[in-house]
């Protein structure tokens, strides 16, 4: 079965390539901002521009955002860490100046909810699938699917007509 053999090989190679790429990139880590404008942008993109709706300080074209960015630049040059800079803004404006809620306290709910939901959904789906698998089908037994090439020409035509008619929308 050489044709299936090369397929297995190719598939394995593809999965390997994908896995290796992801591993390499994950190990390399995200690009750290190097130049000062990049560093300012990195901090500014985690702060909310107070005068515009839902834009970060990095994206906002408003004057106040410009002042924020200048202040961030000054504080970075003075040696403050991004977290310290953020805390400074929180002291002045409150927690809402952060563009995403910190992962503390009640805000954890928002961050954890997607994962919990996915797991919960999986569990629900699993129980539903088990219930369906135990339901007795009322009609004749299911016909196992075969590929189209296995049928004779007339059978194929018959099958295709039936399939096409079944998928037509009989409104």
């Amino acid at each position: 079965m050489s044709s299936s053999g090369w397929r297995r090989g190719a598939l394995a190679a593809a999965l390997l390539a994908a896995g290796a790429s992801l591993a390499v990139v994950a190990a390399r880590g995200p690009a750290r901002p190097t130049t000062m404008p990049e560093q300012v942008r990195a901090v500014a993109s985690t702060l909310r521009c107070p005068v515009c709706q839902d834009l970060s300080v990095a994206d906002s074209p408003s004057r106040l955002a410009e002042q924020f960015r200048q202040q961030i630049a000054q504080e970075l040059e003075a040696g403050e860490t991004p977290d310290q800079i953020r805390q400074g803004f929180v002291r002045a404006y409150g927690e809402w100046i952060l563009l995403a809620p910190p992962r503390r306290g009640i805000n954890l709910v928002a961050w954890v909810a997607p994962i919990l939901l996915l797991l919960g959904g999986l569990a629900l789906a699993w129980t539903a699938v088990r219930r369906w698998t135990s339901v007795r089908a009322p009609g004749p037994r299911a016909v196992p699917s075969r590929s189209v090439g296995d049928l004779s020409a007339s059978d194929r035509r018959l099958l295709e007509r039936a399939l096409a008619a079944a998928s037509e929308e009989p409104e």
Partner: protein
Amino acid sequence: MEESQARHPSGMGPSPAYRRRRGRWIVAGSVMAAVAVLTSLLAFGLSRNPTVVQSVLVGRTAPDFTLPGLSSGQPVRLATLRGKVVVVNFWASWCADCRVEHPDLVAAWRRFQDQGVVFLGIPFEDSTQQAEAFQRTLGGGWPQLADPNSQTAVAFGVYGVPETFIIGRNGVVAYKQVGPIPYARLSDEVTRLLGSPAT
């Protein structure tokens, strides 16, 4: 309409379908409960004004600043005013609401300046000429300080004008007003703070 068997064909208790039929009220009840929770949350949302933001500075020591006078260049430092009641008003010549509140500020200043209350005006995102022109035309008299890169405004958490901070004798921010401050509110707060101790 299909009817479910009340009893399982084997004769052993209610059929699964009948149990589901009874259980539907429980499910319906849970649905109503969930809807009620969502409704109360959204009703709460309606009851509050979405543009009002709480102030975190109230109850904390006001951030210190040293700013030059707008025209004179004479520096003023907030920390040196400890022991006095200080009213800090952020405003701008391009701001319509600042025009609205200005008479209230003037009236309050006239009333309280002899009692040692310090009024400070800080133009926000404004040009010196336009700020000076505003004060000249509308009348003022209390010191105006220059905050060219808005560093002080940012330290105070200012995101719009006008915003007014009333600082007590102990340097703690007692009250913050977002939007035009009415004369009554201003004088009530200042009077209260004048009566309280300086520590």
